[in-house]
């Protein structure tokens, strides 16, 4: 009964989309870290990274007030004279979407993303998850971050996993979809690549695949980012459909963000160096980017408390 066993299903999927060598991936991404970005190219990269941030708050203690203050920061991250761009989006729980919409208004370019589908576990009936997506979109969400059914993937029920994504695509309507693979629960690079392909085959051009929820031990790393962007590249060259990418969780410093962008520049090329094709799911990152931009302009580092919403202090 090989054909029906989960192992058989995974094996066939790997044969179909190809495997990943973990040592090779780590070697490849180590080279990104040795790139040396200076002066104008650094400033350009920092501003690009800031424009790609999905400014996130996903806590049980979130309130309309906290969300409003986050939205304000998203629209105007720092002194306008410094030229820090607006971030791409704010990312909140579905219950907070209407408060975010109220804070941002309707004329803004900052988008509202919401983590629907029983985030972060996804362990709710499909009907409930779809209702959550629809409610978030109705409240004004421009983007939906869904989690895949990892249980279905790991037990070889790829059809179930893909059907659920299809259903969410439908529930999204005009909203952009981001499919969270939750890489730490998939464990291997082979699985991450395979799950990326399964997701890409049922989502629309311009939709995202995303590394993680930020709620487990291991989040975005250069390694799993590389596996996913190589999957996006291979899928694009094969079908012409360009899928966007969002690493989330664990990217806290400007230096890290630049290294991720170098990976994009050298793997997917210039067409992905914009916030319609690449995002960072992060909260602390934005302030470090601003701090580095300020340093490029003035030549001096400023203390964290000079920046609003600072999460660290002395």
């Amino acid at each position: 009964m090989l054909a029906r066993s989960p192992h058989g299903a995974l094996r066939r999927l790997f044969d179909d989309v190809g495997t990943v060598d973990a040592v090779g991936i780590e070697e490849r991404v180590a080279k990104y870290g040795t790139r040396s970005i200076k002066k104008a190219s650094k400033l350009w990269g920092l501003k690009l990274a800031a424009s790609m941030v999905d400014l996130t708050t996903l806590e049980g203690k979130d309130t309309p007030g906290k969300v409003a203050s986050l939205c304000q920061k998203a629209m105007c991250p720092h002194d306008p004279e410094l030229g820090v761009p607006q971030v791409a989006a704010v990312c909140v729980y579905p219950a907070m979407v209407k408060h975010a919409r109220k804070a941002l208004g309707s004329a803004t370019a900052v988008r509202i993303a919401s983590v629907a589908t029983a985030f972060p576990s996804g362990q709710a009936p499909l009907k409930t998850r779809l209702a959550e997506v629809k409610a978030a979109v109705a409240d004004g969400a421009d983007e939906i971050d869904m989690v895949i059914n990892r249980g279905a993937f790991l037990s070889g029920e790829f059809g179930v996993m893909q059907d659920e994504i299809r259903a969410v695509v439908e529930a999204c309507g005009q909203a952009t979809l981001k499919v969270i693979l939750e890489v730490s629960e998939l464990e291997t690079f082979d699985n991450i690549r395979a799950a990326s392909f399964l997701a890409m085959r049922v989502i629309r051009e311009g939709d995202f695949i995303k590394t993680s929820t930020g709620k487990t031990s291991l989040n975005a790393t250069l390694g799993n980012n590389q596996v996913m962007i190589e999957a996006i590249r291979d899928y694009y060259l094969d079908t012409g459909v360009s899928i966007a990418m969002k690493p989330a969780g664990g990217i806290r410093t400007a230096k890290q963000a630049l290294t991720f962008l170098i990976a994009i520049k050298e793997t997917l090329g210039d067409a992905w160096l914009n916030n319609a094709r690449y995002r960072f799911g992060a909260s602390a990152l934005l302030n470090d980017l601003i701090r580095q931009i300020e340093k490029e302009n003035t030549g001096a580092y400023q203390a964290p408390y000079y920046f609003s919403e600072a999460t660290e202090s002395y």
């Binding site: 044969d15 190809g18 990943v20 090779g24 490849r28 040795t34 040396s36 200076k38 190219s41 350009w44």
Partner: protein, 500 residues
């Protein structure tokens, strides 16, 4: 599946073929390494622990291949200088080094290794200026690996009773060594360290175009307090090399370089009782099967052929691809080499630096022209090259067959010849169908196939799912015209001793 749906898709508006754009949207600013290489304007010979002027009084210029500017003057040795070096080495062996216990020799080797680490940045910059290799390679590979060889062999020096179980070992005496220009400092380290650990003394000649880091290492040998005459460096061109190889004193000769010169040396030592190690050319096959993780294989192929501008004797210069994935691998390779950065070797972002010399650039250009003439399809990215200096774009040749010159002769440059195969046996046959046998690579997800290939490939090193990996503990050397004897590891040490 595509054939079934062909009709349906043809009714949709046609999309242009998807292409990735590797343009100048995000240009990197120059990022040169700024450490001071501390070069002298003139370097003398290093004989008997002293820098001494050549007897001829002649010097030649060493230039920076990245911009053709003069770096320093290097002494031109003559046969008389070589003789003086050998006399010093003999005296040092007879009076000091040969009698010193291994644990004492180890102290010197450890000291050399540490001093080299202390001055790593300085040496990296000097190596890059002199040879044209990218600073990230001299900084992350050449210098640390050179230090690692000294450390490794320092560790052996007091344990030589265990290097050949059941036997005892004794040094040979004086050793003559000649090294090439592709890894000047590293090659120096991996020849010096085992010879010294074993208790031999050395006369060594670096390559004419890359003598500087060798003579800088002489400063470290002085600082380490190495007894005079234990290591002697003579510099110059091929005639000096011939004098080093033909001298009556050395009990062992060790040469790394071209097969052509290796053959001449072999002839000259015929009839003598000198021991010999030759590490010569290569035309390695890098074999990619259809079940390999292709994206990482492509990375390994790039690392295999474009590392150090392809100036690597074990470079994976022949790519053998399984036919079902040949087209896919070629597309991936093209996209990968579009983002390789060719240019100023001192820039920390440079992936491919300068070709070592005008002479080598001429050879590469001629070989590439022959590939085009014989009908192979060439691909080069459109990267800009600096106006001055010796540069060559990374080059792919597809549609290559075994009878092409570019599939048979060593190019020693950033040029990859791509051939295809259908079965495992055909891959082995093609890989072994060469005069050389230094290294090979195998890329597959199937472990049993790796084991089969590694026993059937006639190559000194077989890398599996990786390429160009080195370690002081791992012996390196060839089959057939790639030479004989091993360097590194226990096997390398055995080539520097007699068993008693």
């Amino acid at each position: 599946m595509p054939t079934l749906t062909a009709k349906k898709t043809s009714t949709r508006p046609a999309r242009p073929a998807p292409e990735l754009i590797f343009g100048d949207l995000w240009e990197f600013d120059p990022s040169p390494e700024t450490a001071d290489p501390k070069l002298k304007t003139r370097y003398d010979l290093f004989i008997n622990g002293q820098f001494v002027a050549p007897k001829s009084g002649k010097y030649f210029d060493s230039i920076n291949p990245a911009n053709e500017r003069k770096l320093a003057e290097i002494a031109q040795a003559s046969a008389a200088d070589v003789d003086a070096a050998y006399q010093a080495a003999k005296a040092a062996y007879d009076n000091v080094w040969g009698k010193l216990p291994g644990r004492e020799r180890a102290k010197y080797l450890f000291r050399i290794a540490r001093l080299l680490q202390d001055r790593a940045r300085e040496f990296a910059v000097a190596e890059t200026l002199d040879g044209g290799k990218p600073i990230k390679e001299s900084r992350d590979f050449d210098v640390p690996m050179a230090a690692a060889h000294f450390f490794y062999h320092a560790g052996w020096a007091d344990k030589l009773d265990y290097v050949a179980p059941g036997r005892r070992v004794a040094p040979l005496g004086v050793v003559g060594q000649v090294i090439p220009w592709n890894f000047p400092l590293l090659m120096l380290a991996w020849k010096l360290a085992p010879a010294l650990a074993m208790g031999n003394t050395v006369v060594l000649k670096p390559a004419e175009t890359t003598s500087i880091t060798c003579l800088k290492l002489a400063e470290i040998l002085q600082d380490a307090g190495l007894p005079p005459g234990v290591v002697n460096f003579v510099t110059g061109a091929g005639d000096v090399g011939a004098a080093v190889m033909n001298h009556p004193i050395p009990a062992k000769l060790s040469f790394t370089g071209s097969t052509e010169v290796g053959k001449i040396i072999m002839r000259s030592v015929a009839g003598t009782d000198k021991k010999m190690t030759l590490e010569l050319g290569g035309k390695a096959a890098n074999i990619v099967f259809d079940d390999a993780p292709l994206n990482q294989a492509v990375e390994g192929i790039v690392n295999g052929i474009f590392f150090n501008q392809g100036h690597v004797c074990c470079a994976g210069s022949r790519l053998l691809v399984h036919e079902p994935v040949a087209e896919q691998v070629l597309t991936k390779l093209k996209n990968r080499i579009k983002v390789l950065r060719v240019g100023d070797p001192l820039d920390k972002n440079t992936d491919i630096g300068a070709i070592n010399s005008k002479e080598q650039l001429r050879k590469i250009t001629a070989m590439v022209a022959s590939g085009v003439k014989e009908g192979a399809e060439m691909f080069q990215p459109t990267c800009r090259l600096p106006p001055k200096g010796f540069y060559f774009r990374p080059t792919l040749f597809s549609g290559v067959s075994m009878s092409h010159r570019i599939a048979r002769e060593e190019i020693f440059g950033p040029v990859l010849s791509i051939l295809t195969f259908r079965t495992v046996d055909e891959a082995i046959e093609k890989a072994n169908n060469t005069a050389y046998g230094l290294s090979a690579g195998v890329w597959t997800d199937k472990g049993s196939r790796i084991l089969k290939m590694s026993t059937e490939l006639k190559a000194g090193v077989v890398w599996a799912n990786t390429y160009n990996k080195f370690d002081p503990a791992s012996p390196f050397g060839g089959y057939k015209e790639s030479g004989f004897g091993r360097e590194g590891g226990r096997q390398g040490l055995l080539d520097y001793c007699k068993l008693i």
